[in-house]
């Protein structure tokens, strides 16, 4: 089980955080390329949410029969989600899109299980040490020592397991 890297993309598609935890997992790429990559991913993510071949209402109707829904409850279907998991031969990419449009990209090896748990913990750390930091400016690159340290120790624990 190895977590290779973490990338955070803000709601405008800009790269705000980039951290490599395991050398040799992914190729080394320049910061410039990484910025381009973050922007590209942002666009691709938006397209993938528009490509759904089935009607959202139909998908929901299959999941829960309409008779079981309490009357008066708004039956608005879930908004279509974009790319969540990307699999390749050498790595696996898990993407978590928050309600505000911030994207967390976690690169792991192909056999990594329970990435959801790791992602959730990373998001908690982000909320605790970045969003609650009074000096952090929204949508700007994340430079928070506390976040860096907590993240490092958490991921190190996973990678050494």
């Amino acid at each position: 089980m190895t977590v290779f890297a973490l990338i955070i993309i803000n709601k405008a598609g800009g790269l705000v955080y980039n951290r490599t935890f395991y050398e040799g997992g992914l190729q080394k790429i320049s910061t410039n390329d990484l910025l381009v990559l973050a922007g590209t991913f942002h666009g691709v993510h938006a397209i993938t949410s528009r490509l759904s071949p089935v009607k959202p209402a139909q998908a929901q109707a299959q999941a829960t029969p309409p008779t079981q829904q309490p009357p008066g409850l708004l039956t608005r279907p879930e908004p279509p989600s974009g790319l969540e998991v990307l699999e390749t031969e050498n790595f696996r990419l898990q993407c978590f899109n928050t309600m505000t449009g911030t994207k967390f990209l976690l690169f792991t090896d192909t056999t990594q299980a329970n990435v959801d748990v790791v992602m959730r913990r990373v998001y908690e750390m982000y909320s605790d040490y970045v969003m609650k930091n009074p000096f952090y400016q929204l949508e700007m690159p994340i430079r928070c020592d506390m976040f860096d340290r907590k993240l490092s120790s958490y991921i190190r624990e996973i990678n050494n397991r």
Binding site: T48, L51, P53, L86
Partner: protein, 161 residues
């Protein structure tokens, strides 16, 4: 497992074949028969307002961007296999001659890489490449829409579903 659609793109980035196995209700036609009709080629509109040809372009753009992104991150030998959203899963297979096969399935589908590979060797090579009447370049889908290929593909997909 449900297979929604299948696309082939040639090395000139053109969509040379597309086929859908969508239930009629998913195409905004609730009064249609309940069997799965095979629709292809016709520029019908989806529920999301996309024309079939627009969908093909969006899908090509997505897989092309993701493939380049994956190559940059995972090395030149890495290949993009599949991605998943909450609504669907997209499988991708690229041959050495840059022919790209794309398949959209439901989210619970296992890896379809071998299926796409089988389509390539058993149907594409047999019925399109080895067909003496088929042109070398399939501009606008020339030579791909032959009876044997279409029938073989439909049988093969229905066998999996």
């Amino acid at each position: 497992m449900v297979i929604y659609s299948f696309y082939i793109f040639d090395r000139h980035t053109e969509c040379i074949y597309s086929k859908k196995w969508l239930p009629p209700s998913a195409e905004g036609n609730p009064t249609g028969p309940s069997t799965f009709p095979t629709t292809n080629g016709a520029p019908h509109r989806h529920y999301n307002g996309n024309k079939a040809s627009d969908d093909a372009k969006l899908i090509f753009g997505t897989v092309f961007s993701l493939r380049n992104m994956v190559r940059k991150l995972g090395g030149e030998d890495d290949a993009f296999i599949a991605y998943r959203t909450a609504q669907y899963k997209l499988h991708f297979y690229e041959t050495a001659s840059n022919l790209r096969l794309v398949m959209l399935t439901d989210t619970s589908a296992p890896s379809m890489r071998n299926v796409l590979h089988q389509i390539y060797i058993n149907l594409w090579v047999e019925f399109v490449v080895k067909n003496p009447l088929s042109p070398a370049e399939h501009k606008g889908g020339d030579g791909v829409r032959n009876e044997l290929f279409e029938y073989g593909l439909d049988q093969f997909i229905r066998g999996i579903m």
